[in-house]
């Protein structure tokens, strides 16, 4: 230890810099990552990420371990253990590790050739943790769904929905008038009213994940039901879990009651991601109302020329998916053809566009559009840490071999 004078500050620093603390934090991290993996048996990956890894404290249900036992140790499927225990979350452990690391450098490490490797490793790790922080705070992901021969200038965020009330353009060239209500407001259940909305909205029921089925007897049970709700009934489904193989995203539905501005009920409606926009007349105007993924508009347009799905001969196994697109950006005067394929994204104006999926007809592509200001940080970090390990372990190996050679 290089510090001799014991002031309260140095005492705290020394305690913070302890390797025992490092090891303890590693043990906790192992626990957190493991629990966060098990939790994906029941909950969606995003729920787990925000609950376990991007949080300060998480309550880990004991049932997870029963489920672990059911998969690997033939524990009966009927067992259920209630209760949960608190555990430090990702933000807390990350911060603690960062403090521990910085304190260690402040207290213990001096700049020297032998220490160069450690310094590199640790600074690379700091970059990586900051990268995850930047990603957690600022990265935005969305999908762009485009039919062949058509184009799109917005992305849809499949983790959020919004209710869009559209008044179609009254002229041929004009724009539609759109007012959107974020899904979070509908979920809260309070009445929504706003100057841009032609009516007030009273949320009745919100389902995070749902399926639709044909209405049979219910028609009479819900006399006020209008629109698609007369034909279909929404059924609540379990939230998609992180390890699901069949369904990947939730499909929300909601029952809403609409009221005119002066309080007259207009009827209850069913809106769902699985339904087309429904026309609703109001004061002599017709609005198209739909529950849809939250949208963000981009300053450029992507035009899909052709989507291709190649298979291996005589099999259904995918060999490659690709989308031949044209990027159109009037602002910058861009118009060029690009092939987006697996493992070869297009990076444009701070966004990265990936071949993500397609629709069953194989004429509609789904591109994933990601905006992440921190995307380069892991690349940098990886190089720095790897270099640091080479240097550090190289020095160690070298001196070990030299010791063995000298008798």
């Amino acid at each position: 230890m290089s510090i001799r004078i014991k002031t309260p500050v140095t005492r705290v620093l020394v305690a913070l810099a302890s390797l025992r603390l490092t090891v303890a934090l590693f043990v906790l991290s192992l626990g957190l990552v493991f629990f966060g993996t098990l939790a994906q048996m029941n909950a969606g990956i995003w729920t787990v990420v925000s609950g376990y890894f991007r949080s300060f404290l998480v309550w880990v249900p004991l049932q997870l371990f029963v489920q672990f036992g059911q998969v690997f140790y033939a524990v009966p499927r009927t067992w259920h253990v209630p209760g949960a225990f608190p555990f430090p979350g990702g933000w807390l452990l990350g911060t603690a590790l960062l403090l521990n690391l910085v304190a260690a450098h402040a207290v213990r490490f001096k700049l020297s050739g032998r220490r160069a490797g450690i310094l590199l490793i640790h600074s690379g790790l700091i970059v990586m943790m900051l990268g995850e922080l930047v990603t957690g705070l600022f990265a935005i992901e969305g999908n762009m769904v485009i039919d062949e021969g058509k184009s799109s200038n917005y992305v849809e965020h499949t983790r959020y929905v919004e209710l869009a009330v559209t008044r179609p353009s009254q002229t041929d060239t004009g724009h539609d008038e759109v007012a959107v209500v974020p899904g979070a407001l509908l979920r809260q259940g309070r009445t929504v009213s706003h100057d841009d909305l032609p009516f007030d909205i009273v949320p009745l029921q919100f389902m995070t994940n749902s399926a639709l089925r044909q209405a049979t007897g219910e028609r009479d049970a819900r006399p006020a039901m209008k629109g698609a709700g007369r034909q279909y009934v929404a059924v609540q489904k379990r939230e998609v879990s992180g390890v699901d193989t069949e369904q990947k995203v939730d499909t929300p539905s909601c029952y809403l009651e609409l009221r005119s501005r002066d309080g007259n009920p207009l009827g209850a409606y069913l809106f769902s991601l699985l339904l087309e926009p429904q026309p609703i007349a109001m004061d002599g105007k017709t609005y198209l109302v739909a529950l849809r993924w939250k949208r963000t508009y981009k300053p450029y347009r992507i035009h899909l020329i052709k989507f291709s799905f190649d298979r291996y001969m005589g099999t259904g196994t995918a060999k490659n998916y690709s989308s031949l697109v044209r990027v159109e950006d009037p602002e910058r005067g861009e118009s060029r053809q690009v092939l987006i394929r697996m493992n070869q994204p297009l990076r444009y104006r701070g966004d990265a566009l990936y071949q993500h999926s397609f629709k069953a007809s194989e004429t509609t592509t789904i591109l994933q559009v990601v905006q992440n200001p921190g995307w380069l940080m892991p690349y940098l970090s990886c190089a720095v840490v790897a270099l640091g390990m080479f240097v550090h372990f190289g020095i160690g190996l070298n001196s070990f071999l030299r010791r063995r050679q000298t008798p």
Partner: protein, 612 residues
């Protein structure tokens, strides 16, 4: 001790093994004047989206249906898998010919031949599920293989097929909707359907397009029907027919000529693929991984014997040289797979086992060459054997050189991320197995003297440093690949988390040692934790989704994890037993003759000091 013997033993062991390998490498020859089945094996077909020799197709199908790659007839004589394939194909062809007046005669000859050789009575179909057997009406057996005749004559066979067929159709749309018994019924039905497809001449794509190489290949059934219907004429469909008729009627000369002609025609149009198919047939016959498995057992025995009272050094060297030879075979096999597939070494779970075994061996040989204390050889043999057994289980369900799903179709990331991450797994396992040696020797023997303990500690430490580097780089490269392919560097998905756990575990061990919190024993216990975590990351995470929702189509992996973890927990418990109960520390350490080099040097040295 005899000086000559000491020098002679290692060379002798390696020599005998080399002779054995040379013998197995020599391809089997066709009997003089018989059908040239060895040549037939090399004929090119397309299956699972890739070109392969008909031999590989026959072996994988038979493996799935029968649980082994050879056919044993009613006289208990073994035949290569292609015989089973040919028998089934000619039966199908005869059925087709019987429907055409001009060829009814050949059909009768073929049927007579099949009946004479009692082909239908050979036990082929592996059905081990009691409930399914009960439904079909078959008796239970120790080795549950049943012949076609037995199946057809069983009272419930027809009804079972009808029921199971509808289950298979149901499984295609709603796999999780099947119950446990239904799943097993569907599984048996799928196996029976495979055999049916071969009989219906639709097993693999066997006929190239009439001209050009751009179009898709066809099944023989389709090609024959369109040829006989006058829709198209394809010479290669006709030559397949000639081959089959000659085989079915026992026309040796006709068979050999037709095979040669067919092969020549293929070689003209697909020279590269035909060349690779020849290599693959040789590879299949050699079965290098099987040979390696045997050799690993011998290495293990030699190495263990070297810890006995006599001939320590010659046995140690014999084990080392044999391990090196096995490593050479393993390397050759790995390279051949890469050559045939035109890909980096790891493309699926099977090849990851093969690769991890290979790398463990490489690492252990380096350790053994450095420390010369047999630990390297023992660990090499144990891990080599274990990974071969794992690979054997993983390879039983189909072609191990299968084509890659689109997202994996990138040689760059396969070569970088996948390889480094698996090297990380391998190194973590090597450290964990050295830990097992440490704990077992300390607990049950008196051979863990200070020098040995120190050497083992150094080996573990060095390997863990290496594992940390590789698993870190591998994990981050995986993140970068994910960023390249779907724009998310880190998604916290189970597989990524598994890799992260290994990195944290290795970092934990290193920091605990630098902080002086653990010495050799502590490091050994932690390295065992590394074993459990690596198994979790390699196989465990894959089971979560499947294990929970479907009634495991394959529960072998989950059961494997179960016992491996239990064994590691037991060893961890053993490692935590207070030292005074360890045999090594209970009795005064006797001076051992034939001490290893590192022992002499290490004696009296202080235990590893904490980092300054």
């Amino acid at each position: 001790m005899n000086q000559g013997f000491e020098r002679w033993l290692p060379a002798g062991v390696a020599g005998v093994a080399a002779l054995y390998l040379l013998f197995t490498m020599t391809p089997p020859a066709d009997p003089e004047g018989g059908m040239e089945l060895e040549r037939f094996k090399e004929l090119l077909v397309v299956d699972g989206g890739r070109f392969k020799p008909v031999d590989t197709f026959a072996r994988t199908e038979l493996m799935i249906v029968s649980g082994r790659q050879v056919l044993r007839d009613t006289d208990r004589k073994t035949h290569p898998a292609v015989v089973w394939l040919l028998d089934n194909m000619v039966r199908g062809l005869a059925a087709y010919h019987a429907s055409r007046p001009d060829r009814r005669a050949t059909a009768e000859t073929i049927h007579a031949g099949l009946a004479r050789r009692r082909v239908d009575e050979a036990p082929v179909f592996w059905i081990d599920d009691e409930a399914v057997l009960g439904m079909i009406g078959l008796p239970r057996r120790d080795i549950p293989r049943y012949s076609s005749t037995e199946l057809l004559e069983a009272p419930g066979y027809k009804e079972f097929r009808e029921r199971a067929q509808s289950l298979v159709e149901k499984a295609q749309t709603d796999r999780q909707g099947l119950g446990q018994l239904e799943t097993r019924m569907a599984e048996v039905e799928l196996h029976l359907q495979r055999a049916d497809r071969i009989t219906f001449l639709s097993g693999a794509l066997m006929v190239p397009p009439a001209r050009g190489v751009e179009e898709d290949w066809e099944t023989l059934a389709r090609a024959l029907i369109s040829a006989d219907g006058g829709v198209s004429s394809n010479a290669l469909a006709r030559s397949w027919e000639t081959i089959l008729v000659a085989y079915g009627t026992g026309d040796v000369r006709g068979f050999n000529q037709a095979v040669a002609a067919h092969q020549a025609a293929l070689a003209q149009r697909y020279p590269a693929e035909v060349g690779l198919a020849k290599v693959e047939v040789w590879f299949n016959d050699f079965a290098p991984f099987y040979q390696c498995t045997i050799l690993y057992v011998v290495v293990f025995l030699l190495a263990c014997l070297s810890w006995g009272p006599a001939w320590a050094e010659p046995l140690r060297r014999a084990a080392f040289w044999l391990a090196a030879l096995t490593f050479a075979v393993h390397t050759l096999a790995l390279c051949l797979r890469m050559y045939i597939q035109g890909r980096p070494p790891i493309t699926n779970l099977y090849s990851s086992a093969v690769f991890i075994g290979w790398f463990c061996l490489l690492l252990c040989l380096v350790l053994e060459a450095t420390f010369k204390n047999t630990v390297g050889s023992v660990v090499a043999a144990a891990l080599g054997f274990a990974t071969m057994i794992i690979a054997m289980h993983l390879g039983g369900s189909g072609d191990t050189l299968e084509m890659m799903q689109a997202v994996l179709d990138t040689n760059f990331w396969l070569a970088t991320h996948v390889t480094t991450i698996n090297i990380g797994y391998a190194a973590t396992f090597v450290a964990g197995f050295i830990a097992i040696v440490y704990i077992l020797r300390g607990l049950f023997t008196t051979s863990l003297d200070k020098g040995m303990a120190k050497s083992l500690g150094q080996m573990m430490y060095g390997v863990i440093c290496f594992a940390t580097l590789l698993s870190f780089v591998g994990t981050v490269l995986g993140g970068i690949w994910a960023d390249q392919s779907w724009g998310r560097f880190w998604g916290w998905d189970p597989k990524e988390n598994g890799a992260l756990l290994i990195v944290i575990m290795n970092a934990l061990i290193l920091h605990a040692r630098w902080g002086g919190l653990v010495k050799e024993r502590g490091m050994a216990v932690l390295a065992l934790c590394g074993n459990t975590i690596t198994a979790w990351s390699w196989f465990g995470t894959n089971q979560l989704g499947i294990g929970l929702h479907a009634y495991g189509f394959n529960t072998t992996l989950a059961v494997g994890c179960r016992w491996f973890w239990l064994s590691q927990l037991l060893l961890i418990g053993a490692g935590l037993i207070p030292l005074r109960y360890w045999r090594n520390f209970r009795a005064p350490v006797p001076a051992r003759s034939g001490a290893t080099r590192s022992m002499k040097k290490g004696s009296g040295a202080p235990a590893i000091a904490p980092a300054s």
